[in-house]
Amino acid sequence: MPGITPSQTVGPFYAYGLTPNGEYAWNDAFTNNLLTPDVTGDKIRIEGVIYDGDGKVVPDAVLEIWQADAQGRFADPQDTRGLPNSSFRGFGRSGTTDAGEYSFDTVKPGAVPGHDGKPQAPHIVMAVFGRGMTMQSMTRIYFEDEAANASDAVMNLVPADRRATIIAKKTAPGVYRFDIHLQGDNETVFFDV
């Protein structure tokens, strides 16, 4: 059996290929706006800043998210429970600005089953790529206004004093803040998946 192809850094110059955003002679396959005209559920914005080990912002990261729709269904036939009844695809990609900022416009996901069949707390999975990162680091975005966080099986694998790093804070109606710290006392929890 062949071994897998190793990852290499996305490097500093990915933008014209992955996130051209109208600045280059290339079109976006994905954007940071996951909303579709027909999507149902609570529309939310997730925004934040990514920091390195010196507390400096990271202006050349790429963040990708994958999530279920508001009814907890993935737009992938491998989720055999049934597909979304909208054109919501659940995948988004954002570069970061010179100030290290990113954002996503999406819907708050519904609960999906965990490995034990019990519902997980609503969450979004996120891959963090960047210059100086040999491969993506995987985290999860949970929401502070979800009581189900307390019983979430994955959340409970995380030491209690680190859980706050993966819980987005509600800063305004429909707006959540999720900062990412690659290192330091507040290093974001990353998962071995």
């Binding site: 059996m1 897998i4 396959a29 993935f74 100086g132 040999t134 290192q183």
Partner: protein, 233 residues
């Protein structure tokens, strides 16, 4: 068929902290990663519509008024899983420097010319057998600031999806026998030699088109294997 994604396969990857590649020092997460069971959130992934890839997006030499300068090449291969099965209908994106080693990116200050006929980005979707094909220009080597007289070997950046969010791969494809290999800390961040060499394409005379373009084969192996092997049948 249900695929599983053993975390052990990740051993092929570079360590996140690879001090020779200096930018990793302040950017590699340092705390213990949390091992977790995969759920639907990890074992599903995006599906692409016809709007994602347009006809011609695989040919980087025909996107402008004229042909780009440099050596025209064909880059092709098969995207497969860890059992060697082709991964059909999966998105492959690439981006690269031009023949002079200059990226169109606004931050790239390398004093080499831009080519008005070359952007350097492309994408395609694999066919039913997992095969893909691009037409492009052989990228040039270029200097970078990691250490004195640092040069990146010629490479093409690849972004591939696969069957799930955990099979997602961003990597770089290299060209055979590049003299810069021993000196490049990014290439050598992958410490397992066999794994490292899987990032090097093979010259492919069979697919080389007479009088037109050399071909290179770059197979890409993503995570994912059958949960119930059938070797005993």
């Amino acid at each position: 068929m249900t695929l599983i994604y053993p975390v052990e396969s990740n051993a092929a990857h570079a360590p996140r902290l690879s001090p020779g590649y200096k930018s990793t020092i302040k950017r590699a997460p340092q705390k213990q990663r949390i091992l977790m069971p995969h759920t639907l959130s990890e074992t599903t992934g995006p599906v692409y519509g016809h709007e994602t890839v347009r006809p011609g997006d695989h040919d980087l030499t025909t996107m402008h008024a004229g042909e780009p300068l440099g050596e025209r090449i064909i880059v092709h291969g098969t995207v497969m899983d860890e059992d060697g099965r082709g991964v059909p209908n999966t998105l492959v994106e690439l981006w690269q420097a031009n023949a002079c080693g200059r990226y169109v990116h606004v931050w790239d200050q390398h004093p080499a010319p831009l080519d008005p006929n070359f952007t350097g980005a492309g994408r395609t979707v694999t066919d039913a057998a997992g095969n893909y094909k691009f037409v492009t220009i052989k990228p040039g080597a270029y200097p970078w600031g990691n250490h004195h007289n640092a040069w990146r070997p010629a490479h093409i950046h690849f972004s591939v999806f696969g069957h799930s969010f955990v099979s997602r791969l961003v990597t770089q494809m290299y060209f055979p026998n590049d003299p810069l290999f021993p000196f490049d800390p990014i290439f050598n961040s992958v410490t397992d030699e066999k794994a490292r060499l899987r990032m090097v394409s093979d010259f492919d005379l069979d697919v080389t088109e007479p009088g037109w373009a050399l071909a290179y084969r770059f197979n890409i192996v993503l995570r994912g294997r059958n949960a119930t092997p059938t070797e005993n049948h």
